[in-house]
């Protein structure tokens, strides 16, 4: 069963991440890299990707005169996708357990970030 684990945050959340110390960021990334390695070893890893800064996001609605209509205005509360992991697991509970580990990745001062991770199955099952 393929699941996508989505990590999202508001612009304010991204700003606070950018203000973390390099040491905190390195420790956080080391945990994520460790989870990636475990998933590769268990054969559950499919793909992972980080996305660029939400300030660069564009919203496109159709075309006018053959040109895409872009619109840069977002509500402050909008949750932007920060990154995702695609995993191929035996059970939904396993997808949730991996999401729990991602959410437990350490943040500033070593405390878990407790970031919410959205768990979604692919439509093409």
């Amino acid at each position: 069963m393929k699941y996508i684990l989505l990590m999202s945050g508001t612009k304010a959340g991204v700003d606070s991440y950018l203000a973390w110390s390099q040491k905190d960021r390195d420790a956080h990334m080391a945990v994520l890299a460790g989870i990636g390695k475990d998933l590769a070893e268990s054969g559950e890893f499919v793909a992972t990707q980080g996305l660029s800064d939400p300030r660069e996001a564009k919203l496109v609605h159709g075309e006018r005169d053959g040109m895409p209509v872009t619109d840069g205005i977002y509500p402050e509360s909008k949750e932007f996708l920060l990154g995702y992991w695609i995993v191929d697991v035996e059970t939904p509970a396993r997808a949730c357990a991996i999401a729990g580990r991602l959410s437990a990745a350490r943040g500033p001062g070593g405390a878990p970030t407790n970031m919410p991770i959205e768990v979604r199955q692919f439509a093409n099952r």
Binding site: Q49, V60, V69, S103, N114
Partner: protein, 131 residues
């Protein structure tokens, strides 16, 4: 440059989609097939997936001992990812123009849906965030 094009909607949007006529659904699916084929033929296609229904979504946080805790309550206004395309293009304008095509996918009665498509660059490394 790799971009992700994301189609999102609230639960209400998904409910209205589930009530489309068979003919409207078929027209939309045919468009999506053709759109994917065009992306593959042009060499821009990297990956694409559709996601399951939002009512099956789970939001997970780590509990005290690192165990997964499921948050059951999701606000009505939450935008759920419906599906995405990852494309590899020469410049952002190309990404916007492909997004505009996806946005024009036919809706009820064959009129362009004009649903918003969020366009985001995919990072090749953490250095792309300027860190």
């Amino acid at each position: 440059m790799k971009y992700i094009l994301m189609m999102t909607g609230t639960k209400a949007d998904f409910d209205s989609y589930s009530r489309w006529s068979r003919e409207d659904l078929q027209r939309n699916v045919e468009f999506m097939r053709r759109f994917s084929k065009e992306l593959k033929d042009s060499g821009a296609f990297v990956a694409s997936e559709g996601l399951g229904w939002p009512h099956e979504a789970k939001i997970i946080r780590a509990g005290k001992d690192g165990e997964p805790v499921t948050d059951g309550i999701i606000p009505e206004a939450k935008e759920f990812l419906a599906g995405y395309w990852i494309i590899d293009v020469e410049n952002p304008e190309q990404a916007y123009s492909i997004a505009a095509k996806a946005s024009g996918a036919p809706g009820p009665g064959g009129r362009p849906g004009n649903i918003p498509i969020e366009v985001r660059q995919v990072l090749s490394s953490h250095a792309d965030l300027g860190l």
